[in-house]
C-alpha cells in the first residue's frame, strides 16, 4: 500500500478544505468518507458565513450549488400562540459571505474541487481505527485493511469516535451537545419568494426562541432554499433527557405554531434529518495534535453558537486549512512529531477560530439560563399585547405596564443581572 503524506477522515467542510490545500501544495492525499458520497451523512440548519469560502475558492459563487444568499435575518420570540419578531433586511450583505446551501449537494461539489486539485476521495469507507507505531499515529484502518500515512487528520464530525479512541478528548456528555432535527419542505419557488418577500437569489435566515423548544435551551430555525425550506429545532441533549422530551415532538409542535404555519403552509416534507452539534466551545477543547495526528472541525468542537451567531462550517474549513498548512510544513521538515504539529494550535489561536471562541467563551453558560427561553419571550409578547391592545380599560404608562408584566415572573434585579451577563457573553 502506498504511503500517503496525509489521510483525511471525513469529506465534510473541514476534511475537504484540508485535502484541497494539501493537494494543491503537491502532497499525496487520501480522503476516506464513510458515506456513499460526500455529504450523505451531513445535515445542518442552513447557512455558511464569512470570507473563508471565497479565500479558498475565489470562483465558488458561479460554480457551487448555492440555494440563496441571506438578505434577511430574523429573530422571533415565541409563546404558544404569539410571536414578536425582529426582522433585519439589507441589500448591503455581501452575497458570497452569507449563503444557504443543502449539504448533500454542496459537500459533493467541494469534494470535487479537492479531487481536481489531486486528492483521492474514497467513499463508502469507514475508518474505524487508527494505525500506530509505538504511540505515533501512522495511518488508519478500514476493517482489517491498513492505510498508512505520515499524518492523519480527523475531520469525522461531531460524533468522532476516533477522537476519543486516540485519547484526544473525553467523550462528550449530554451537556456538551445540542441535538438538531430538521425537515426539508418543498414549496414552489414563486411561493417562497412571495411569502418571504424575496427577489431573485435573495434568501431568509430566521431564528426562533421560546415556545419552539417548550422553554428548553435551544431554538428553532428556518432557512429558505431555492424551492424548499429547511426548518427545525436545536435543543441541548441534557435538557431533553432531563425533561423527558423528544426533539421530534418539539419539531411537530413548532410546525403547528401560527407563525410557522404561515410559512410552511401547503409544503410537502421530503426529508427528515438529525445531527449533534458540540456547543461548549473552548471549554472542552481537545488536544489538537499528537504524533502523526490532528483534529479539525466539529470533531474538535470548533463551533461558535452565541444564540445570535450560529457558525460551524466556516470554523471547520478554517481549521482544515490550518491543519493542511501544518502538514505541508511538517512534510518539508520531514518531521511529524507533536512538537512540529503543535503549529496547528498556534495557527488556530492566531486566527479567528480560537480568537472568536475565546471572545464568546461565556456564551455557552449564559445560554443555559432558562429565562431566555421562557420568561423573556413571554414578557416580550405580553408587553406587545399591552401596548397594542385597547380593551377599553384605563391604560398605564409603558414602564408601569412592564413592571406589571414582570410581576411573579422575574424581578428587576434578575432582569438587570441577566442583561449584564448577556453583555459579558454576547
Amino acid at each position: 500500500m502506498e504511503n500517503f503524506d496525509a489521510i483525511v477522515v471525513g469529506a465534510g467542510p473541514a476534511g475537504t478544505a484540508s485535502a484541497y490545500v494539501m493537494a494543491k501544495a503537491g502532497l499525496q492525499v487520501l480522503v476516506l468518507e464513510r458515506g456513499k458520497y460526500p455529504g450523505a451523512k451531513n445535515m445542518w440548519g442552513g447557512a455558511f458565513y464569512g470570507p473563508v469560502m471565497e479565500e479558498l475558492f475565489p470562483d465558488f459563487w458561479n460554480e457551487a450549488p448555492i440555494e440563496r444568499y441571506v438578505s434577511r435575518h430574523g429573530i422571533s420570540f415565541l409563546t404558544e400562540v404569539d410571536s414578536l419578531s425582529i426582522d433585519f433586511r439589507s441589500q448591503r450583505f455581501e452575497k458570497n459571505r452569507a449563503f444557504i446551501v443543502l449539504r448533500a449537494k454542496f459537500d459533493q461539489w467541494m469534494a470535487k474541487k479537492a479531487e481536481q486539485a489531486g486528492a483521492i476521495i474514497a467513499t463508502s469507507l469507514e475508518a474505524d481505527d487508527l494505525l500506530y507505531d509505538g504511540s505515533a499515529v501512522v495511518g488508519v484502518k478500514v476493517g482489517p485493511e491498513a492505510f498508512p500515512a505520515s499524518v492523519t487528520i480527523l475531520a469525522d464530525g461531531a460524533n468522532s469516535l476516533l477522537a476519543a479512541k486516540a485519547g484526544l478528548r473525553k467523550d462528550y456528555s449530554p451537556h456538551d451537545v445540542k441535538q438538531g432535527v430538521k425537515e426539508v419542505i418543498k414549496l414552489p419557488r414563486e411561493v417562497i419568494e412571495e411569502r418571504f418577500q424575496l427577489e431573485g437569489d435573495a434568501g431568509a435566515a430566521l431564528e426562533f426562541i421560546g415556545a419552539c423548544t417548550k422553554g428548553l435551551p435551544g431554538g428553532g430555525f428556518l432557512y429558505t432554499n431555492r424551492d424548499s425550506l429547511s426548518m427545525g429545532v436545536v435543543v441541548q441533549l441534557a435538557s431533553l433527557l432531563e425533561h423527558q422530551t423528544k426533539a421530534s415532538d418539539l419539531l411537530e409542535a413548532f410546525k403547528n405554531h401560527p407563525l410557522i404555519q404561515g410559512f410552511i403552509r401547503g409544503g410537502e416534507t421530503v426529508e427528515y434529518s438529525a445531527h449533534l452539534i458540540p456547543v461548549t466551545g473552548i471549554k472542552i477543547l481537545p488536544s489538537l495534535a499528537k504524533d502523526g495526528l490532528l483534529i479539525t472541525g466539529d470533531a474538535a468542537g470548533l463551533v461558535l453558537g452565541t444564540g445570535l451567531i450560529l457558525e460551524g462550517a466556516n470554523f471547520a474549513m478554517a481549521s482544515g486549512v490550518a491543519a493542511a498548512e501544518t502538514v505541508v510544513r511538517a512534510v518539508n521538515k520531514g518531521d511529524f512529531s507533536q512538537t512540529i504539529l503543535d503549529h496547528y494550535g498556534q495557527l488556530l489561536r492566531k486566527r479567528f477560530v480560537l480568537q472568536e471562541l475565546q471572545t464568546f467563551k461565556k456564551a455557552p453558560a449564559f445560554l443555559e439560563n432558562s429565562r431566555i427561553y421562557t420568561t423573556y419571550p413571554e414578557l416580550a409578547c405580553s408587553m406587545a399585547m399591552k401596548i397594542f391592545e385597547n380593551d377599553g380599560s384605563l391604560r398605564k404608562g409603558t414602564f408601569k405596564a412592564l413592571r406589571e408584566s414582570m410581576k411573579g415572573k422575574v424581578s428587576i434585579w434578575q432582569l438587570l443581572s441577566d442583561a449584564l451577563k448577556a453583555k459579558g457573553a454576547l
Binding site: 464513510r34 458515506g35 456513499k36 458520497y37 455529504g39 450523505a40 451523512k41 451531513n42 445535515m43 445542518w44 443543502l102 449539504r103 448533500a104 449537494k105 459537500d107 467513499t123 463508502s124 469507507l125 469507514e126 474505524d128 478500514v142 461531531a158 460524533n159 469516535l161 467523550d171 462528550y172 456528555s173 449530554p174 451537545v177 441535538q179 432535527v181 425537515e183 426539508v184 424548499s228 429547511s230 441533549l237 431533553l240 433527557l241 423527558q244 422530551t245 423528544k246 426533539a247 421530534s248 411537530e252 410546525k255 416534507t269 421530503v270 426529508e271 427528515y272 434529518s273 438529525a274 445531527h275 449533534l276
Partner: protein, 89 residues
C-alpha cells in the same frame, strides 16, 4: 406527521450487519430509559415496560450513545456506504 412517516421519506442503504447493539440485561435495571427521549428517529420504543430497539431508521446522530447512563449501548457507525443517505442535508 409521525416520525415513521418522515423516516419513510429518507433514503437508507440498510445493512444486514447491526451497528448498534443494546445490552438488554443492563436495560432491565434501568428506570430512566433515556434512550427513548434521546432518539429523534424513535429507534427505541417502550412496549410493556421494555424498550424494544430497531436500527433500521437510525439517523446516526449518536445521541443515544451519549444519553445512556448504563453504558448499555454499543454504538459504531454503519459499515461504509450503508445507513442514512441524505439527498438534501
Amino acid at each position: 406527521m409521525k416520525v415513521e412517516e418522515k423516516l419513510a421519506l429518507n433514503k437508507f442503504e440498510v445493512d444486514r450487519e447491526v451497528h448498534i447493539t443494546v445490552d438488554e440485561s443492563k436495560c432491565q435495571e434501568c428506570n430512566l430509559k433515556l434512550c427513548i427521549y434521546a432518539c429523534p428517529a424513535d429507534c427505541y420504543v417502550l412496549r410493556d415496560e421494555h424498550v424494544t430497539f430497531s436500527y433500521e431508521g437510525c439517523l446516526e446522530c449518536g445521541s443515544c450513545r451519549l444519553a445512556c447512563d448504563k453504558s448499555a449501548i454499543r454504538w459504531v457507525n454503519p459499515r461504509g456506504g450503508f445507513g442514512i443517505c441524505y439527498q438534501f442535508g
